[in-house]
């Protein structure tokens, strides 16, 4: 063996100093420093801003309540993403449209009840019907979506179902526009829910606490369902390992459909709550809440039910409080315009620093 020659080659093959540079780590460090500085400086400057009286504590408390209500809706939608992701490992990009379908579908009933006076005479009965309709329509859309667009792609490469889902999102949005028209419509609210209440000097819309409580109740019910019932256990088994679950006699197709049904129901409830809160519906209303809810799901740890709830609330609050808190200090005019940037920045940062989310473990690819 020509040992000497080999050794010579070995030493000739060395890496330059530049190549030894850990690029990824440097990027992460720079990013961390930048973000922390920005948040700290922004918050400090805003809070120490003098001579602006509208930035009192009631202002922040009010934003907080609005944020929590928004977060409650996000959390309900986020659960749909989380459940489907947990079981199929796919991002159901069209879930925002499932949410839209429920809201838009219930609108026609709400409008009719408003005209006939039923909405104000029997508000509880009317609301119950609106929720049932919203749930039914969202569920129907979710199940059709699964059957037509996703089921044939169960074993396809990872990006194929995602692209399909993007297509489905576009398709559903524009179908709604074709069916119902492209203008947004005012969603009537029973007078029972109109108006504001004032607690401890903080006044907010009556609807906000209702939204928050409703969604918490629904989420607790879901958690119990998944943990305690047989169907819930099958869902968890399929999420763990689809193949083994099917060998254990679990009907995987059925579990997947059930998952879409539950996701659809939650989206339907969220849709009606959202419509009642913001008072309008339209074909494109699903896109941004959809993305925000996905962010919430990732933030909390995709695949985790409590994670989606926590993520939803955190995101809702960040969206409403964040722009003012971080940007006012920098004299940025109309910070609320930039709330989308806050959402997406949070998404990007979470995925970079903690891809598993707050409560999750997965995310980074296994070797």
């Amino acid at each position: 063996m020509a040992n000497g020659a080999l050794s010579a080659t070995t030493s000739a093959r060395s890496l330059g100093l530049l190549e030894r540079l850990p690029v990824r780590r440097i990027v992460l460090i720079v990013l961390t420093v930048a973000v922390v500085t920005f948040v700290a400086v922004g918050t400090f400057k805003t809070l120490t801003l003098s001579g602006v009286d509208h930035l009192g504590w009631t202002f922040w408390a009010n934003l907080l309540v609005i944020g929590l209500a928004l977060g409650a809706v996000y959390a309900l939608i986020a659960l749909g993403y989380t459940l489907v992701y947990g079981i199929l490992r796919m991002i159901n990009f069209a879930h925002g449209e499932v949410f839209m379908a429920g809201a838009f579908g219930s609108y026609f009933f709400a409008a009719a009840y408003s005209r006939s006076g039923f909405l104000n005479n029997q508000p509880w009965a009317a609301l119950a019907i609106l929720f049932v309709v919203g749930i039914a329509i969202s569920t129907g859309v979710a199940v059709l979506l699964e059957r037509i667009a996703y089921r044939p792609l169960r074993n396809a490469a990872r990006l194929v179902p995602l692209i399909t889902a993007i297509g489905a999102s576009l398709f559903l949005q524009n179908t709604a526009q074709g069916f119902f028209g492209s203008q947004t419509r005012g969603y009537p609210r029973p007078s029972l829910l109109d108006g504001t209440i004032t607690w401890f000097g903080v006044s907010f819309d009556k609807i906000d606490p209702i939204v928050i409580v409703t969604s918490i109740v629904v989420m607790v019910a879901l958690e119990v369902f998944v943990k305690r019932t047989k169907t819930g256990k099958s869902m968890r088994a399929v999420a763990e390992d689809r193949e083994i679950a099917s060998l254990m006699g679990i009907d995987v197709d059925r579990v997947i459909v059930t998952t879409f049904v539950i996701g659809g129901m939650l989206a339907g409830i969220a849709g009606v709550l959202y419509a009642l809160t913001f008072g309008q519906v339209g074909a494109t209303m699903g896109f941004l809440p959809g993305i925000a809810a996905f962010t919430a799901a990732v933030l909390g740890g995709i695949g985790s039910i409590p994670g989606a709830a926590i993520g939803g609330f955190i995101l809702g609050v960040s969206e409403s409080v964040g722009p003012y808190l971080l940007l006012t200090g920098f004299n940025v005019p109309s910070p609320f315009e930039l709330r989308g940037v806050v959402t997406f920045s949070i998404l990007v940062l979470v995925l970079i620093f903690r891809p598993g989310g707050i409560l999750g473990a997965g995310g980074a690819e296994k070797v």
Partner: protein, 621 residues
């Protein structure tokens, strides 16, 4: 529930649902002004194509015990007609229900269900005659679809192609008719002067010509299968003697069909010359209006080519590609004297320059490449689907920032920018901004450049590294590819090409508003590359022509553009994930395998027979 029905009925119902859907979404009424032949409008196609497709599908050859079995004509006709009938019955049932509820009541919710739609579905006939015509017609369509499929290839395919040819030529009337005028051929040979649809005579001419053309092509194809073509560099190698190098084998294969090779090469050169000439004279052939459409086809072709590098070559699903389009457009605007629009008038931006378009261009490209690296750096470690969502976020962030009040002093905020310098080449009297025909040449130049770049990269060391990364990032890393560097390179290259599209967009209209940079631009670019086939340059061209060009020409489709994009994304992924024009080399090889493998197997058998375990074989435990 629909799954348990007999197959023809099931597909018939699906076709029926499709027809009802097209009506309810408003497409039918909107397209009723689009005349195809005589007085038949696009509505006829929307009503009869779905049942015909159902008939086509239900009479497809069956695989039985591993063998493909053609459906006999009698059976085909029967199942096809049943499918059509089922479709017709379903549509009629829907029609009846709507009538019972009352069209006006239904219209309260479904705004497209109008009396006009109901008339269209009954061909302006009475209730009984209309129903009979609808059901009968759809049954017939199912039957015809099935018959075309079941007929022998040399009959069925030319007829099908003939029908398709008629529709295509009719749809392209706004391109072909002015072209005929330009070359002093009367357009009335084919088209009606009033409706712009084909005349019956014209339809027959097109049908017969297409059918004959396809029949002749089929004939030559049979010939092709028997004789390997010369540029099939690998075909003959295995037949060479063992031990011969592959080059020698290829040479041996080449000698054989030499003459055919010559004629084929000549044909190819002639073909390229024809295409080049056509591209050169196209704007003057088709006129200003179509040239403007070609301009936007070109811009999206650039976006598609850039995105194709990121998604098709490197496998990084980027949904925020609009960011580069916006960066290209806004950087161009800022550098070439664009003014921000304010309520008080125009004001120069906080930072700006008065460069000429071509001086600004290298800077624009560099900025976009840099932004590509900046966007790419933080997301290096993200897995495919997460990457998609994060890049979607970047696209949205870009849009919000460009349109925000905060950055208004630079980019004009919600009102945008105006007064962008016209692109001019000194000494050349072409006005790119005022004449779409001139703009076409600018776009063509850029597109040819981008195609050249894509093509060169594809076959290079860089392209291989990207492909390896797309196939398996971890293994690519283990094979010595610095995934960090090549991911960033892909983002930078993709961004640079996309920014060219943005720059052209900015100078083509001279002004910008943030409304042009919606997330839908990203999705459109994605649809363009998916339709043609990821990683395929001809695929991107076809995708841009079909998805941008067709809706541009057929303005009636404009409202349904996004609906169609969504449908395309779903349909391609479900039915043909490799796209309509997949990577040429790959599809060819897939066919070649069988032929060459047989020869190789024979050779291998002989070798194995003499290839007993070697001298070390005895050392077996």
């Amino acid at each position: 529930m629909i799954g348990r029905l007999p197959t023809p009925v099931r597909f018939g119902f699906i076709a029926g649902i499709a027809v009802v859907f097209l009506g309810m979404v408003g497409m039918m009424e909107r397209l009723s002004t689009l005349i195809i032949v005589g007085n038949i409008s696009m509505v006829g196609i929307l009503i009869f194509l779905p049942p015909a497709l159902a008939g086509w599908v239900v009479s497809r050859p069956r695989i039985e015990a591993g063998e493909q079995r053609e459906t006999p004509m009698g059976t085909a006709v029967a199942v096809g007609a049943s499918a059509g009938l089922a479709a017709g019955v379903l549509v009629s049932a829907w029609y009846a229900i709507v009538n019972v509820i009352g069209v006006d009541s239904v219209r309260q919710v479904f705004i497209a269900v109008t009396p006009v739609l109901m008339q269209l579905l009954h061909f302006h006939m009475g209730p009984v005659a209309g129903t009979l015509a609808l059901v009968g017609g759809m049954t017939g369509a199912g039957l015809v679809g099935a018959a075309l499929r079941a007929a022998p290839v040399e009959v069925g395919r030319p007829l099908t192609a003939g029908l398709a040819g008629v529709v295509v030529v009719a749809l392209l009337s706004r391109v072909i008719a002015p072209a005929l005028d330009q070359i002093h051929v009367s357009r009335t040979l084919l088209y009606s002067a009033v409706t712009l649809g084909l005349t019956w005579g014209g339809a027959i001419v097109v049908f017969v010509a297409t059918a004959i053309g396809v029949r002749l092509h089929l004939g030559s194809k049979v010939h092709d299968i028997l004789l390997p073509a010369p540029e099939d560099r690998v075909a003959a190698a295995p037949s060479a003697e063992p031990g011969m190098t592959s080059e020698a084998g290829t040479d041996a294969g080449r000698r054989d069909p030499l003459e055919r090779g010559m004629s084929k090469r000549t044909a190819m050169i002639v073909g390229w010359l024809v295409i080049a000439t056509l591209l050169a004279v196209l704007p003057y052939l088709v006129g200003t209006v179509v040239s403007r459409i070609l301009g936007s086809v070109g811009i999206f072709l650039l976006l598609g080519l850039g995105l194709n590098i990121v998604v098709g070559y490197a496998g990084l699903l980027d949904l925020g590609y609009v960011a580069f389009f916006a960066v290209g457009a806004y950087t161009t605007a800022v550098l070439t004297g664009g003014q921000r629009v304010t309520f008080a008038g125009f004001k120069p931006p906080a930072f700006g320059a008065n460069l000429s378009f071509f001086t600004a261009l290298p800077i624009v490209v560099l900025v976009a490449a840099l932004i590509g690296v900046l966007i790419g750096a933080p997301v290096l470690r993200l897995r495919g689907d997460y990457l998609a969502i994060v890049t979607l976020g970047f696209g949205e962030i870009a849009r919000v920032i460009f349109g925000s009040t905060w950055a208004q002093s630079l980019f004009g905020g919600a009102l945008g920018m105006s007064g962008i310098t016209k692109a001019e080449i000194p000494g050349v009297a072409l006005s790119f901004q005022d004449d779409p025909r001139h703009f076409y040449y600018l776009v063509l130049l850029f597109c040819l450049f981008a195609i050249f770049v894509s093509w060169r990269l594809q076959g290079s060391r860089v392209g291989r590294a990207w492909n390896a990364m797309r196939e398996d990032e971890q293994v690519a890393d283990a094979m010595g590819i610095s995934t960090t560097r090549f991911k960033l390179l892909a983002f930078a290259m993709g961004g640079a090409i996309g920014s060219l599209g943005g720059a052209l967009f900015a100078v083509s209209i001279g002004s910008l508003t943030i409304a042009s940079f919606q997330i839908l631009v990203s999705i459109t670019a994605l649809a363009v590359i998916i339709l043609g086939g990821l990683g395929s340059i001809p695929g991107v061209i076809v995708g841009a022509l079909v998805l941008i060009g067709l809706p541009g020409i057929l303005t009636q489709f404009e409202d349904y553009r996004l609906l169609i994009y969504g449908g395309v994304l779903i349909a391609i992924m479900l039915l043909r994930p490799q796209g309509l024009v997949p990577n040429v080399r790959r599809s060819r090889e897939l066919h070649e395998d069988e032929r060459s493998q047989d020869q190789w197997a024979k050779h291998q058998l002989e070798e194995d027979a003499t290839d007993a375990p070697g001298p070390t074989g005895g050392a077996l435990v």
